[in-house]
């Protein structure tokens, strides 16, 4: 059944009449996502061209449609507000596309929205190929299958997924968790879900330098995922130390977050780390057809 998102998930779009919101609403609808409405304060009572109703508030939208999922396209200063509004209305999973939400806003949000899963912010979203897309990924590169994919980056995910699909590895669910310092859902959260998902047979973890998410992921894999092959990747391994590269996470200083530390952690968990995205399908193939004991 994939994780976090299946074909019956009812989705609303916060910021549905904005430029990005409107554009991606159509893409998601085209993919088959059950978009049941959207929210733009002041435009309640109208409908967008494709027929979905617009509401003034998330509560109105949830009351009228029974939506459980939301995808958020709002300016950075309104990101925390949008997440709190989603939580207040009983949304169960919110994908926050917005980039540049202040870290302290997110710090308060993630500690005060119990029971709601947040993906992102600053993430490409979530796709369960063949079922539903709640995100901004170019959907045509994905293919239904049994590989779970998690990544801190958007475009690097596309690069890797493209390779997987071309090599014949379809995906159960792909989650872009986002590259901001404080994000709602971590590698470990996703790994826990994949570990329990019958439709996921193998997992790709695409990390980056900086932070300790990859080390935490490796520890979790070692302890809790003995039976599903996992392949890793670390972006930014050639970066000189002390340089901040786009994602606030991607900065190396001291001994934490170095490529060496991450590769070592993955190795200790029995997870091979690809040197380049194009190697991932091969590493996966070797592990998905194990030699019988």
């Amino acid at each position: 059944m994939a994780i976090f998102l299946d074909k019956n998930s009812k989705v609303i779009v916060q910021g549905i009449t904005g430029r990005e919101g409107a554009f991606h609403t159509q893409r998601m609808l085209a993919y088959g996502t059950k978009i049941v409405g959207g929210v733009t304060p002041g435009k309640g009572g109208t409908t967008i061209e494709s027929g979905q109703p617009v509401f003034d508030t998330v509560r109105d939208a949830v009351d009228a449609t029974g939506a459980t999922h939301s995808i958020i396209f709002v300016p950075p200063f309104a990101g925390a507000d949008a997440l709190w509004e989603a939580h207040d209305a009983g949304i169960m999973l919110a994908v926050c596309i917005t980039e540049g939400i202040p870290a302290h806003d997110m710090l308060r949000v993630v500690n005060t929205t119990p029971g709601m899963r947040i993906i992102g912010g600053n993430c490409p979203g979530l796709i369960s190929p063949g079922k539903s897309l709640v995100g901004i990924m170019p959907s045509h590169i994905f293919k239904e299958g049994n590989v779970g994919m998690i990544s801190r980056s958007g475009t690097l995910t596309y690069e890797i997924v493209d390779g997987l699909t071309r090599a014949g590895f379809g995906q159960s669910t792909c989650v872009g968790i986002g590259g901001d310092p404080i994000i709602g859902t971590t590698f470990v959260d996703c790994l826990r879900a994949f570990a329990n998902d019958a439709e996921t047979a193998a997992i790709v973890v695409a990390g980056e330098i900086g932070g300790s998410d990859e080390e935490d992921a490796a520890a979790f894999i070692k302890d809790h995922i003995p039976d599903k092959p996992v392949v890793g990747f670390i972006g930014g391994r050639s970066a000189p130390e002390g340089k901040r590269l786009g994602h606030a996470g991607a900065i190396i200083s001291g001994n934490t977050g170095t490529p060496e530390s991450k590769v070592k952690a993955f190795a200790a968990a029995g997870v091979p780390v690809a040197d380049r995205p194009s190697e991932i399908p091969r590493l996966l193939a070797e592990r998905m057809r194990p030699v019988p004991a």
Binding site: E20, P76, F77, E99, G100, I101, P102, A103, H104, D105, L107, R108, V110, N111, P124, I136, M137, P138, I141, S151, R152, S153, G154, T155, L156, T157, Y158, E159, D162, G179, P181, I182, T186, A206, E208, G211, S212, D213, D216, G235, G236, R237, S238, A239, P240, G242, K243, R244, L245, G246, H247, A248, G249, A250, G254, N255, D275, R276, P277, S278
Partner: protein, 396 residues
């Protein structure tokens, strides 16, 4: 945004953290007249962002106005270099502060713990030295506490940390309120790091922040226009300034200095997304070359930004070839292609051999635009990297 010590102490005073008496000076005359009016023993501290300032000779002591003026002349304009910062940093200003009689030095900081999603407070009774060394030698000498941001700070946390870290008795009364003020600063100004090292206990029983290290979250700076203006007034990093100047985020562009024993940094890179940007650098490395830079045009970039990014990267004279690697999501291939064509058509850019890889959203439209300009993109990232490295090495 990293703040200089004098800026950090400005914030300290706003929240009520005691700092030494002193004055900020940009000329030797400033120093001379201040010391003339305030007899005593003073410290002249170079205002730079780099670490290892003391070992690099950036801190001097003066007992009168004449000595102060002489030392200030020596320091202002000096290039400070340290092991952490071999490139060094020029001293443009000084902080002149009272020389306090130190009884004890402690360490205290608050940072964001990404994994716990909470502010983490760290306290050690071994202040005044490199805390990473303390952590490496004896991790138990650093005591940690994770604050629930919903409940916020409460004084027991300061008491608990002071007792657990075995701070000398003299700290105990002041410490919970100093830490509370530091937490207020951390939250109210959207800091990613606030650090006092050392937090000094003086022989006369005062607790004073002798140094100040503050880093603010760039994304939250819009809430503090006065502080954001500090940054504009004195950009800490040329790359950041250049990025902001063309409309990119501060962290979307970074040049890499040449490293001994590694391939020369001759390939310029542009990609969309930080992840792909890093992947592109790595691909250059894997192909045996050296990426001169990282540049992420972000999501949904328009043609104009692509053009400006091209110009920025090629302004680095080391760049002998360029690799533009786009996997369209929000970013649309046609806009990127349009930007490339416009950049190459302009007279104001330095032209270097160019490799383009273009796939994802509106890639076909983009390829058609490049096609009309007589340009054929490559198919994969690995292929593009290999080709760019070859071009930079003079092959074709």
């Amino acid at each position: 945004m990293k703040l200089m010590e004098y800026q950090g102490k400005d914030l300290f005073r706003r929240v009520g953290i005691p700092t030494p008496e002193g004055v900020f000076a940009t000329t030797a005359d400033n120093v001379k007249s201040y010391l003339a009016a305030h007899p005593g023993s003073w410290v002249l501290k170079s205002q730079v962002l780099m670490g290892g300032r003391g070992k690099a000779g950036g801190i001097k002591f003066a007992d009168d106005a004449q000595q102060g003026e002489m030392l200030a002349r020596e320091l202002i304009g000096k290039l400070l270099q340290s092991i952490q910062n071999p490139a060094g940093e020029h001293v443009k200003s000084l902080l002149v502060e009272e020389k306090v009689d130190i009884a004890s030095e402690a360490y205290v900081s608050i940072a964001i713990d990404r994994a716990a999603k909470k502010p983490i407070v760290m306290v050690s009774r071994f202040g005044g030295m490199d805390v990473e060394e303390v952590a490496a030698k004896n991790p138990d000498d650093i005591k940690k506490y994770w604050v629930d941001p919903a409940a916020g700070y409460s004084p027991f946390m300061g008491r608990l940390l002071a007792f657990r870290a075995q701070l000398p008795d003299g700290y105990r009364k002041a410490f919970p309120s100093v830490l509370g003020a530091l937490y207020t600063l951390f939250m109210d100004y959207g800091a990613t790091l606030v650090e006092i090292n050392p937090l000094v206990l003086t022989k006369d029983g005062r607790v004073i922040a002798s140094d100040a290290k503050v880093e603010l979250d760039d994304s939250g700076l819009y809430k503090h226009p006065d502080i954001a203006a500090w940054n504009t007034a004195a950009p800490a990093d040329e790359d950041q300034a250049a990025a902001v100047a063309i409309g990119l985020g501060m962290s979307n562009y970074a040049r890499f200095p040449d490293e001994p024993g590694k391939p020369a940094k001759t390939v310029g890179t542009i990609a969309n997304g930080a992840g792909l940007g890093m992947g592109t650098m790595d691909a250059i490395g894997n192909a045996g070359g050296g990426a001169a830079n990282f540049l992420d045009i972000g999501g949904g970039a328009q043609a104009d930004l692509v053009k400006k990014s091209y110009k920025l990267v090629t302004s680095d004279e080391r760049v002998k070839a360029m690799f533009i690697n786009i996997f369209g999501g929000i970013t649309r291939g046609d806009q990127v292609a349009k930007g490339i064509v416009e950049a190459l058509a302009g007279d104001d850019v330095r032209k270097v051999p160019l490799v383009v890889r273009l796939t994802g959203t509106n890639a076909e439209e983009g390829r058609a635009i490049l096609d009309r300009a007589g340009f054929v993109p490559v198919e994969t990232m690995d292929e593009g990297a290999a080709r760019a490295v070859a071009l930079a090495n003079g092959s074709n």
